[in-house]
Symmetry: C2
Subunit: 307 residues, 2 copies
């Protein structure tokens, strides 16, 4: 799957992933009304609204982007119907040729981590049959529990040729509370990065590893160091746009081959129609605003490279 | 909810939580057959088997124990039907007066962490109505992202009078890879514990905080230190039994009031009928074996206190 992701990125010349993290108040009135008319103000109604909202955005952006990253929490908050909308979104995006990065940030130990891996990127055995409970191509994984939490994902990813992005240095302001603590002169996130690189060596694709890392756009200097610590690791970079990361900060996350990083934007794209810059589209044409925001992000990144 | 948990523990004189972490091969043949006869070898069939298995154990143990801890990964592996079985299990256990600790180990930032909190221990707004997607009383939370990940859970828990257990020092062999790294002479897990104690001060119940901690039974010496770092924190202790923790190792996790810790056993109880010690019950009476295993665990803990 890492080979597929790199291929998509090269073909479209777009190291961009769209975060499908819909809050209900991102959804335009006409979609919300149709969903509530059909299902009432229920979890099913909310799930339908979210799904229709996503579908509109996928339909208007799939030819420009290599991947989407649905954030499962935004679906899980609506319980079972929400998770059904998550599944529907993943399946639909996949049918459009997109790579699916499930932002699930799971992490546990032994058989429990294995169960998460099987559920999201693998197949579960039921009697003589096997099924995929969810269907992502990549997932995000929390490293706090160490190798015991990561290895079960590695086993399943190896079998299925799927991948993961391990949290190294997250984009949020308080990420430093534990991640930046210095251990013999090295911050914890660097120790995690060294492990990610070592685990990644065991699971190589053609030019990059099936094991990637998450490093926030909001920390470009750390990105520069981490790029060197993990040369074969694809870096998923959140924090661009709404969280304050700028295009000029992104160069350190990339390798000289122009690859090695994929930049996420969520609100900036899915909620573009609410920004003054795109207000001309109107809520009815929210997906056209998202398309324009993707084009603008691509241009923004391109200009930053050229500087 | 922490007050309710403490009350239940005192009433039953049992600082015990049963981990409902069903693997399909834990489920006795007669339950599996009935479920597959009804739903086929499908995700629905697996979910039905897991739910019936859990129901049997709850029915035969609810009068002995204060709480259950379903591990969501074991349900998530069966996709949507599995998560429906998770919900059914939580609702049923609750109807029997048990406190529900959802072992979900979620953790993200800002609005995303809020969405998890709302989904599992809160209520989500849909139009003019509110719903609970899931219905746990406590959840486990991963601290790697710092305060940004924890505060949204605190907000929701405060509103709902629910609680959380934050991972401090996990029971698995590789937990030391990052958690034990020394920062100015103090391990990372101790820094996390200090934060847990500080967060906990902001959200106090009658005698203990709504914010608990997870510390593995497999690390009793660390338990002794962490007990002092977090005097008002309830400690959820996994790792007893199947993972190697013994009753004599548990004393340091408790305060002098005999409270302050709740010990989890999963396999040792739900899969008791497969152990030689309980084989006399037979697979048909697996839940009676579980009941006996709870009684034996209670006695095992009692003897350890008396030494």
């Amino acid at each position: 799957m890492i080979n597929q992701l790199v291929k998509n990125i090269k073909k479209l010349d777009a190291p961009i992933v769209v975060g499908l993290d819909p809050m209900l108040d991102y959804v335009p009135e006409h979609i919300l009304k149709a969903a509530f008319d059909e299902y009432g103000e229920t979890l099913e109604g909310a799930a339908e609204a979210v799904w229709q909202f996503n579908k509109g955005i996928i339909d208007r952006t799939y030819d420009l982007i290599p991947a989407v990253k649905p954030q499962i929490a935004m679906y899980e908050q609506f319980g079972i119907p929400g998770l059904m909308a998550f599944n529907k979104t993943c399946e639909y995006a996949k049918s459009k040729g997109l790579v699916i990065i499930g932002d699930i940030k799971r992490g546990d130990i032994g058989s429990t981590s294995k169960a998460y891996a099987i559920g999201h990127v693998g197949k579960v055995q039921v009697g003589n049959k096997t099924y995929s409970g969810f269907c992502e191509d990549f997932v995000t994984v929390n490293p706090y529990l160490g190798s015991d939490g990561v290895r079960p994902f590695m086993e399943v990813c190896k079998e299925e040729k799927k991948g993961m992005f391990i949290l190294v240095k997250t984009s949020n302001p308080s990420s430093g509370e534990f991640q930046d603590q210095e251990v013999h002169g090295k911050p914890v996130y660097e120790l995690v990065a060294e492990k990610v690189a070592a685990w990644g060596d065991e699971l190589m694709g053609d030019s990059y590893s099936y094991i990637g890392a998450v490093v926030g756009a909001t920390y470009p200097k750390m990105g520069e160091i981490l790029r060197k610590v993990m040369p074969k690791t694809y870096i998923l970079v959140p924090g661009y746009g709404a969280q304050g990361g700028q295009a000029k900060d992104l160069a350190p996350f990339f390798n000289e081959d122009g690859l090695g990083a994929i930049v996420n934007s969520s609100r900036g794209i899915i909620c573009a129609y609410k920004q003054e810059q795109y207000s001309r589209f109107g809520a009815e044409n929210y997906a056209d605003a998202s398309r324009q925001a993707v084009l603008d992000m691509k241009e923004d990144l391109r200009q930053a490279w050229e500087q």
